[in-house]
Assembly symmetry: C2
Homo-oligomer: 199 residues x 2
């Protein structure tokens, strides 16, 4: 190209495209914005990236990203070690925590199976989950709390098989009608599942 | 919050939201992706940001982002110094360069007027343009090549007034360029004709 952008600008645009969802055009817009209007922001982002890469790791017990070898939730001695709730993401874990209805331990897969996107068991925390299930103190119940999407269900299937093979008691969050909602306005699939899962 | 993400992760998510078009959800997705699957990419991005902030400045002649005080295009002695083509962005400049139909100089505003978004003359290179128009060797013709959008036309109006006030001959790209389109995506022939038919 006879009229290529300067090298450092090109390097920045390429590096920005490593971010998920950022293509060539967004990367250019981001690069120009930072260099023209927010150089402080650019330097803050650079530092935040370096500190996160240096300081964040997977918790050896629950696999979530943490600053410590054992994250604060896993380090809490008041939580019931016999229950292990398996979730896809820290956001899902936070949603369950907000209910205040669960006081056991967690395992955070940090992803979900998605064969179409090339996400297999080795790309999410299935291997560390296997280690976790064999650790002491022993887990007695595995609560599968992956999402009720196709990918979440596929992930649930793999987790269930793994835990069952180890002789553990496996449960799944109930599918049903949301509390406070009227049947008239609930979608058919949810009602059908609520009927099938009635207890 | 009882279950907040670790501090370094929060800092990274906030820093990513300084990027235009990146909200809370995208920032979280980006942070997790980098820390789980592309730590090399994160460090490369950090370095690219720092080197770009340190090494990129505005060319003192044409106002584009450059690694040198005077960019390669402005430093080219074979280009006609009596013609100055005013464009919004480096991408627009590159589109004109690709036609091979123009051998004069450029001024890159690095933006366009957009009063609704709070972008006024001081936010784009109007002040450095005024200096440029008064520099030697003298410019005789100012070719206004801002986009044929509402914002581009408003920008063209300001540039035209400025150059006219200095007694310079001002032309505008002919409307061979489809109204409402951006130069970056217009075919070469149309741009070449618009250059030839400038008035
Ligand atoms: Zn943990
Ligand atoms: Zn220049």
């Amino acid at each position: 190209m006879t009229h290529a952008p300067p090298r450092r600008l090109q390097t920045l645009m390429q590096a920005l495209q490593r971010l998920p969802g950022v293509g060539q055009r967004s990367a250019a817009r981001m690069a120009y914005h930072l260099l023209q209007h927010d150089r402080d922001g650019a330097l803050q982002l650079a530092q935040a990236l370096q500190e996160a890469v240096q300081g964040m790791r997977h918790c050896v017990l629950c696999h979530t990203l943490a600053e410590e070898e054992v994250c604060p939730t896993c380090a809490d001695p008041t939580r019931d070690a016999s229950q292990l709730c398996v979730v896809e993401t820290p956001a899902d874990q936070a949603a369950i925590e907000r209910t205040g209805a669960y006081r056991g331990r967690y395992f955070v897969l940090m992803g979900r199976l998605s064969p179409l996107d090339g996400v297999g068991p080795d790309d999410i925390g299935v291997r560390p989950l296997l280690q976790r299930l064999q650790a002491t103190p022993p887990v007695r119940e595995v609560i599968v709390a992956t999402n009720f999407t196709a990918e979440g269900e596929a992930t649930a299937h793999v987790v269930t098989q793994l835990a069952s093979a180890l002789g553990l008691h496996v449960t799944r969050l109930a599918r049903g009608v949301p509390v406070g909602s009227e049947l008239e306005y609930v979608d058919l699939g949810t009602i059908a599942h609520a009927l099938a899962d009635r207890r």
